[in-house]
Amino acid sequence: MPEEPLLRVNNINVYYGSLQVLWDISLTVNPGEIVAIIGSNGSGKSALLNSISGLNHPVTGSIEFDKKDITYTDPFDIVSLGICQIPEGGRIFPNMTVLDNLTIGSYNHKARGKREQNFNIVYEHFPILEKRKNQMARTLSGGERQMLAIGRGFMSNPKLMLFDEMSLGLSPLMVNELYRALRQIRARGIAAVLVEQNVRRSLKEADRAYIIEAGHIALSGKTADLREENKVKKAYFGG
């Protein structure tokens, strides 16, 4: 028997104001799986993550998480169910200390009890955050901010983490470090959705991928198969 997906997005249509940005999108994420969403700028990748996070509800279609309908659930309630988005650029709280940023990650009631334990896990993955814990977050470098954003998200005790352009604008060394953390997160049984413009990298790291073009799903499948697909090769690897 196939296992029940953790997240199931069923035929959603999403608008920004009166402008439709997603058409009939369906997608599943299984427990512990890494799923990549690939597409060019403005193709609707972030809109998809924001629908899952509850920031922008779909007009039609439905979203289920852990067997619950979350289509119209408020974003702050979705967090305690176990979905956490790491937004583009991290969006850490600049005028709070690193420690307070992490503490705020454990704001939802289910995460509070595991706070100390989760602190230790975050510091184990990102020792630099422990060194800088009493510094204001605005003093961190770009890569450190992204680590803080991931750590803060992890503090919410998620079952599914949504990463929006995690590696954008960072050095290759830093990107490697973040992907190493991602693999460790997955080893803890947490599923992940990666939204990336770095196609090569995300096809390498993910188990499955969806390719979005202009708000439609153009192609999907196992990443190993997609890498061999001619269409993908042409569009993203230059032949």
Partner: protein
């Protein structure tokens, strides 16, 4: 500076610093709401006055000491603040940034007229035995209430700081004021946090209102002048910073008492406002903004 002038000046200096405590108390709520919601609550002075009138009523009908009546006044104003934010302002914020400002104007006008009807246009005061006493500091004698104002400001600031630093709710207020979307993504219901922040500002306004009434007489239209003082305080101190508000309050108090000493009582507020204008021209972000 010769010693005679100094000993003459000592009274307005000490008085100005202590008065700064009262101005800080009045400004803290305004500063908190501005820091969190970027709203200048133009009804703040009138809401402070609501607490003065409540204390007046408790005193005249139940013979309750104004400071003790805060046991009722603080939760009362807290509840009113929570209601105003939930029922009116959170909805107005969805329309535009100007809508809550207009609602705050409306609240201000309604309150001033309600005070006229309920408490009459007469000047009122929270006259208690200790409000009339004075204390000695070296050679100078000052009204005891000024010292109480200053102590109250220190206590409120300490409690507010501990609350913001140590509790989840305090950190959530801080987070929601910095990035609303990121706060949502961290599981923070920002509308509820805004309501709590406004309620907290009103709880502080309750304390400010009592100490205002102990220090000065008030009428139904005393709110706006104190709003303007509070606004001056947070402009001086840099919007939304607590230490800045405290120092801004003291500067405002000093400008008033020292201005009064040199130019006469009629000109004391003029001196304070010229100072605000000068500082705005030289350093528009406030003296202590980060």
């Amino acid at each position: 500076m010769n010693s005679e002038l100094f000993s003459d000046l000592a009274t307005p200096i000490v008085m100005g610093i202590l008065l700064g405590g009262l101005y800080t108390l009045i400004a803290l709520g305004l500063s908190l709401v501005f820091g969190v919601m970027k709203l200048i609550n133009v009804a703040h002075g009138d809401l402070v006055l609501l607490a003065s009138y409540f204390a007046f009523t408790f005193m005249s009908s139940l013979d309750l000491d104004p400071i003790i009546s805060l046991v009722i006044g603080v939760p009362l104003l807290f509840g009113i603040g929570y209601g105003i934010q939930t029922i009116l302002l959170n909805r107005a914020f969805r329309i535009s940034m100007e809508a809550p400002l207009i609602i705050a104007f409306g609240i201000s006008i309604i309150l001033q007229n309600a005070y006229q009807i309920i408490w009459s246009p007469l000047s009122r005061g929270l006259t208690t035995p200790y409000a009339l006493q004075s204390f000695e500091l070296g050679d100078i004698r000052l009204p005891l209430v000024y010292l109480l104002d200053f102590i109250a400001a220190l206590v409120v600031m300490f409690l507010l700081r501990e609350f913001m630093k140590r509790t989840y709710l305090g950190k959530a207020i801080n987070a929601a004021s910095q990035d609303r979307i990121a706060a949502h993504l961290m599981g923070i219901n920002t509308n509820r946090v805004y309501a709590f922040a406004f309620a907290l500002a009103m709880a502080i306004a309750a304390i400010a209102g009592v100490f205002l009434g102990l220090t000065f007489p008030f009428t139904p239209t005393s709110g706006p002048p104190f709003l303007i003082i509070a606004f001056g305080v947070i402009v001086l101190g840099g919007m939304g910073s607590m230490l800045g508000t405290f120092i801004g309050g003291i500067i405002m108090g000093l400008a008033q008492t020292i201005g009064g000493y040199f130019f006469g009582a009629a000109a004391q507020m003029l001196v304070a406002y010229v100072l605000v204008l000068v500082i705005l021209a030289v350093r528009p972000e406030g003296i202590f903004s980060r």
